[in-house]
């Protein structure tokens, strides 16, 4: 079942490249934020790259993604153009959501990436609804619904899981447990800190995985895909991971120690771990990986240039996209 043995060098280097792209992209976004090029909230994904790349790499093009507001990593892992993601951060018309969404609301229906959502847990029912539509059409598609540990205490999580299980909806719930809901540790927020066990009460098959290990994430994700595609209903994955940066750019990180962060960065960095695996198993040399990093650097620089040079949305366009049909042509209707 597990295809580790057949993983090609190209595939592995591709995963590596995606993780590095996310890391560099987020670092650059932080820089741009300090320069005032990016406004509002900026939640960065540094440290959690293996979860996004590992899980999303298992999806097929026809599968769907709903995710939370820390969504750049997922967008890039799904293949969204970094230039257009950066442009969205810059609020430009060339952004994936035409500058209307910003950091938390990346979307691209062509990639079946239905968006990052900023109300914790709010998108879980949406993902179930998309799964319902798949089931209704009898399609062989799966929805990946990504959320954090913080979302597992909210009502919509439980309503969504209950219905998904009850109706056997084709949805994979992927909880990125980075241990902190903003600044509150999961042990201080959840009566059952082993989050995957919460799914059990709904009769949902669930397991926990090391979210810092890309291959492990892929393995459990593949298992989940097979299960869901077989029509058994939803699957629940809890990926243990860690966010290397603060909750947002404004986070003074009073809730965790410097040492804790340093320890994760030094010993558990998913990119270091994966590059070690590649080199040790002879898929590529350190030089080759360095060359990839160079490429990625250039790609991120290009993204910034693109975003910077892109036009601002015209002010008169602000009322577009409120309604597809803003109202009846009254005179016509009366005529």
């Amino acid at each position: 079942m597990i295809e580790q043995t057949v993983l090609s060098r190209e595939l592995l280097l591709g995963f590596y490249r995606q993780m590095v792209l996310i890391r560099r992209f987020e670092d650059k976004a932080a820089e741009m934020y300090t320069l005032g090029k990016i406004g509002g909230f900026l939640h960065l994904y540094n440290g959690e790259e293996a979860v996004a790349v590992g899980a999303i790499s298992v999806l097929r093009p026809e599968d769907h993604i709903f995710t939370h507001y820390r969504d750049h990593g997922h967008a890039l892992a799904r293949g969204m153009d970094p230039r257009r993601v950066m442009a969205e951060l810059f609020g430009k018309t060339t952004g994936v959501s035409r500058g209307r969404g910003g950091s938390m609301h990346m979307a691209d229906p062509a990639l079946r990436f239905w968006g990052g959502y900023a109300i914790v847990g709010g998108h879980i029912p949406l993902a179930c609804g998309m799964a319902l539509a798949i089931q209704y059409r009898g399609a062989d598609e799966v929805v990946l619904c990504i959320f954090g540990d913080g979302a597992t205490n909210i009502g919509e999580f439980h309503e969504g899981l209950n219905l998904a299980a009850l109706w056997k909806l084709p949805v994979i719930f992927l909880c990125e447990n980075n241990f902190y809901g903003m600044g509150t540790h999961v042990r201080r927020a959840a009566s059952t800190p082993e989050i995957y066990r919460r799914a059990e009460v709904y009769g949902i098959r669930s397991e926990q995985v090391d979210g810092m290990d890309l291959l492990a994430v892929r393995e459990v994700m593949s298992r989940a895909m097979d299960y869901v595609r077989a029509g058994h209903g939803p699957y629940f994955i809890e990926a243990l991971t860690y966010r290397f940066r603060g909750h947002s750019m404004a986070d003074p990180e009073l809730y965790r120690s410097r040492e804790e962060v340093e320890e994760w960065r030094r010993q558990r960095d998913p990119i270091t771990r994966f590059s070690g695996y590649i080199i040790q198993n002879g898929y590529a040399t350190a030089e080759e990986l360095a060359a990839i990093e160079q490429e990625v650097e250039a790609e991120v620089e290009e993204a910034v240039r693109f975003a910077d040079e892109s036009p601002e949305p015209p002010l008169e366009s602000v009322t577009e996209y409120v309604y597809v049909n803003p109202g009846p042509a009254r005179r016509v209707a009366h005529a």
């Binding site: 959501s97 998108h123 998309m130 309503e159 577009e320």
Partner: protein
């Protein structure tokens, strides 16, 4: 033309649209096996089966959230929230999600779900007797419909199901039993269009849902006094067809707005403000609102009747604006 009840007209609309479009399906609490708490969906489970008529658990956020997601996935869900009071449990889904999908992602996709819900009273107590249409009418991205007659109910519900935007469709529980003419042939009532239910010269009464009927009764009485009322039924609260109201005001110069809801920050307040903005120079008297007393609904029958606006309140309001005429 055959006469149908409001309830039957709604059921016809659902049935016709389900027959017309495979993507249309219903979901909600007790809409299937139970037959619908207000019996609107009675018989549809038997006709269309469980795939198209889905009973849900009591989970309002999930009902609206799933409907939204399914709509994004290309279906035409008609979700039912048993009463509008419970919609507050789904307010996050309605306001933060359903209303935002189209705009927040830059117009890339839509969520054209229909949320049907009921509002009314009848010694149901404080939490089951509210009219919260104002909350949703406040929100750009939503359309809010509140019909008054079987004809409008059917035509508007069919239009809502075919609309490319999300629609909150609010049914008055005390109207389910009223009868009215509904043609056999296919028709739609456009969303966003008010209707002059009674033409008149002297006073414009702006109303919607059940208050249209209360206003009609008052108008008959006022006619005997020589006051000719024009009744504008808003039908859709958002987008609000203020043009029809303004046209009427330009003719009559007098306005009474009747709403079966608290007046503060309400539909009447909005209509009055728009009249002030767009028809100030045509007013011959201050705009007067009739609404519910500003209390949570009491259980006691007499107290409840006292809270809800009735014909006498409308009569008094109209007489006050026409002044010396009567």
């Amino acid at each position: 033309m055959p006469e149908l009840t409001f309830r039957e007209a709604l059921r016809q609309a659902l049935r016709e649209e389900m027959l017309r479009d495979e993507r249309v399906f219903l979901m909600g609490e007790d809409i299937g096996a139970y037959g619908g708490s207000y019996a609107v969906t009675r018989g549809l489970l038997e006709e269309f089966g469980e795939k198209r008529v889905k009973d849900t658990p009591i989970a309002e956020a999930a009902i609206v959230g799933l409907a939204t997601g399914a709509a994004m996935g290309g279906l035409k869900p008609v979700a039912e929230l048993m009463t509008i009071n419970f919609s507050l449990l789904a307010a996050d889904q309605i306001i933060n999600h359903l209303a935002k999908i189209y705009y927040m992602f830059g117009g890339q996709f839509t969520a054209p779900a229909v949320i049907r819900t009921a509002a009314g009273w009848g010694q149901l107590g404080a939490t089951h007797s509210q009219f919260l249409e104002v909350i949703y009418s406040h929100v750009p991205g939503l359309k809010v419909v509140m019909p008054s007659t079987p004809y409008d109910a059917k035509g508007l519900l069919k239009a809502a199901i075919r609309d490319p935007d999300p629609v909150l469709f609010i049914e008055h529980t005390l109207l389910y039993g009223i009868r009215g003419e509904v043609p056999d042939e296919e028709y739609l009532v456009p969303i966003g269009l008010a209707d002059v239910k009674r033409p008149g010269r002297d006073v414009t009464i702006v109303a919607y849902a059940r208050m249209v009927h209360v206003a009609m009764n008052a108008a008959r009485e006022l006619e005997a006094e020589g006051v000719d009322c024009e009744i504008v039924d808003l039908r859709t609260l958002r987008p609000l067809d203020i043009e029809t109201v303004v046209e009427s005001v330009k003719k009559t110069n007098h306005v009474v707005i009747v709403e079966e809801d608290w007046k503060s920050f309400g539909v009447g307040a909005e209509v009055a403000a728009r009249i002030a903005e767009q028809a100030f120079d045509y007013l011959d008297a201050p705009v007067v609102r009739v609404g519910m007393l500003e209390v949570p609904m009491p259980y006691n029958r007499n107290l409840e009747r006292h809270v809800v606006p009735d014909e006498a309140d409308v009569l008094a309001a109209v007489r006050s604006v026409v002044g010396s005429r009567v």
